[in-house]
Symmetry: C2
Subunit: 203 residues, 2 copies
């Protein structure tokens, strides 16, 4: 679905604390906006139950990941709870030039790197309705031990400090509402004057 | 309809050349978003057929308008094709503080003044699909003489130079699409981090 009012894709960065329900929101978003390319990150962490290589992440070894860093093949990467996470540069550039929006699901360190390399990227942070709700969701997930959960909550507190760097703040109270807000944000960003000047040039 | 995620209304400025169909887009927008307060401007120009005092404009004399300027009662005013147009300050401030979005239909000089006094105002410029189409619409309206139409087209060319000052550019090809884009822009602006920091404070 090529939009004639558009010359270049938008780079969209989605961040939010572990347990906020980002994956569910992303699924909902992509079911409405199937033209968006969801960038699959590389990681050194092991797959969780139900996760598949090339779908949720590309699962690689620490040695492989460090090779990509050395060859400068990553748009951004970060270390998070003792594992690397990173985004391949080449594929993203191709998609954006084809006018395709690209969605990155990355944490705050990576988002800051994307912002510095691509100032026009759209940065969206997703929060739960409250911190108590985040704790409840993390405990409900039951894949992690209490110590890991406490580590994630502590990390979330750190991440919240970075919220002012983000353009938009979306509250994941109800998944469909959160997805609708993101859809509106992307539609609005397409209307940005800087993305449409070609429509009024030459007058 | 009070949005609990919102502490203050948005000030929305809509500009666009005479003949672009702004009034029709605004009607469509307000039928979807009846919670928006549409600010009625003051003007010294005479009412067109079908226009009513207090609905389309407050029609006042040149003397009355100049009195308002002297008493500093206007957020902005401008002279356009030999007539004054201006916006009352007090009513708008009240609405914004009540959390109500306020829509201003003003031209480029006025928009620049609003921007300088309210840097967070959302500025949207509406254009026709092409300049030829604008000429066709102005001739189709048939309320003005050819000389007046030519003046409006010349003015439009001048206004287009101000487009880079606007945050968003909406093309009025189809009224419902233009209104939908504005609705998305307003939804996105409500999600701006600076408008939602109160939701994550104290964590």
């Amino acid at each position: 679905m090529k939009n004639p009012k558009k010359t270049k894709g938008q780079l969209i960065v989605l961040s939010g604390p572990s347990g906020v329900g980002k994956s569910t929101v992303i699924s909902e978003l992509l079911s409405e906006r199937s033209d968006i390319y969801f960038s699959v990150s590389f990681t050194t962490r092991g797959p969780r139950v139900g996760e598949a290589d090339g779908v949720n992440y590309f699962f690689v070894s620490r040695e492989q990941f460090e090779g990509m860093i050395e060859r400068n093949e990553l748009l951004e990467y970060a270390e998070y709870v003792h594992n690397y996470y990173g985004t391949s540069l080449r594929l993203i550039q191709e998609k954006l030039e084809q006018g395709i929006d690209v969605l990155l699901d990355i944490e705050v360190q990576g988002a800051a790197k994307v912002r510095s390399r691509c100032p026009e990227a759209v940065l969206i942070f997703i929060v739960p309705p409250s911190f108590e709700e985040l704790s409840r969701r993390l405990h409900g997930r039951a894949t992690d031990q209490e110590e890991v959960i406490q580590g994630r909550l502590e990390k979330a507190r750190e991440e919240y400090k970075e919220i002012p760097r983000y353009d938009y703040l979306v509250v994941n109270d109800k998944v469909s509402d959160a997805a609708s807000e993101i859809i509106a944000i992307l539609a609005a960003e397409d209307c940005r004057t800087r993305n449409r000047m070609h429509l009024v040039e030459g007058i």
